[in-house]
């Protein structure tokens, strides 16, 4: 199949870097809020239970 000139030409999308930076900041803030929520859960959860759940994540490698 021959290539058609001018077709599938690579182009970059227009982005708003300020908007991306704000999204990154919001995402980080949400992760910190999740840690607060997770630690609250951790504190009321018996060691045997949270560590069993954690094992699956820690042993990913």
């Amino acid at each position: 199949m021959g290539k058609k000139k001018g077709k599938n030409k690579f182009s970059l999308p227009k982005i708003d870097l300020k908007e991306l930076a704000e999204e990154k900041k919001r995402n980080f803030q949400q992760r910190l809020e999740f840690i607060d929520w997770y630690v609250n859960w951790l504190k009321r959860t018996p060691n045997k239970k949270w560590s069993k759940d954690q094992k699956a994540v820690v042993e990913q490698f």
Partner: protein, 204 residues
């Protein structure tokens, strides 16, 4: 999470031991046999206290010792660990550990991740961390970890999002037990006072 906390000892019972804990305990058992003082720092400290994430390496700082003892230590490790950056004890000691370059050890015949990053103290903060290490008992199995106050401040100093999250996890877990004054002092020393809020310290 139930634990008992004093400045020098934390007891955590009924924790389901994972492969990472086993890996660390196997390595530290060689250090214990050789009577080498050590302290575990960085990510594993957050993980052992419940942070739910994987890690590539476990950082261990050991009290410096000479080449002869290092050769015995290497022999003790050889059965269960391979070294990533040196093929033998002499090279590991001369070219790495005695030059303040960390050695990396991984499970013999296994994957290079996770690995132990093993080093001697590189600065006065490492020395203090070693001196003030905290005994951690996991159902009677002994480990030594960094004081929580130092660990939180140092994570804020390291400064990646993952480090801030580790710092926040540790602070939230131990907020009622640790010394806020000490945490603030270490944060001041490392010039990260303005980041204490990221760890969750009120008016930090």
């Amino acid at each position: 999470m139930e634990f008992s906390f004093t400045k020098k000892k934390i007891i955590l019972n009924n924790k389901v031991v994972n492969r990472l804990d086993e890996f660390v305990l196997t390595f530290t058992s060689v250090l214990d046999r050789m009577k080498i003082n050590y302290v575990i720092v960085s990510g594993y400290v957050a993980i052992v206290f419940g942070r739910s994430r994987a890690t590539e390496d476990i950082d261990i700082i050991a009290e410096p010792f000479g080449k002869k003892k290092f050769e015995e230590f290497w022999s003790g490790l050889e059965k269960e660990f391979d070294c990533i950056n040196a093929p033998n004890a002499a090279q590991a000691y001369d070219d790495y550990i005695s030059q303040n370059i960390a050695l990396r050890f991984f499970e013999k015949g296994g994957k290079p991740i996770p690995n132990i990053e093993f080093k001697f103290p590189k600065n006065t903060l490492d020395e203090r961390t070693l001196k003030d290490r905290v005994e951690l008992l996991l159902d009677g199995k002994q480990l030594f970890v960094s004081p929580i106050e130092i660990q939180i401040a140092f994570k804020l100093f390291l400064g990646s999002e993952k480090d801030f999250e580790d710092a926040r996890h540790l602070y939230k877990v131990f907020a009622e037990e640790i010394s806020l004054a000490e945490l603030k002092s270490y944060a001041k020393l490392l010039k990260v006072e303005e980041k204490l809020g990221l760890a969750g310290v009120k008016n930090g």
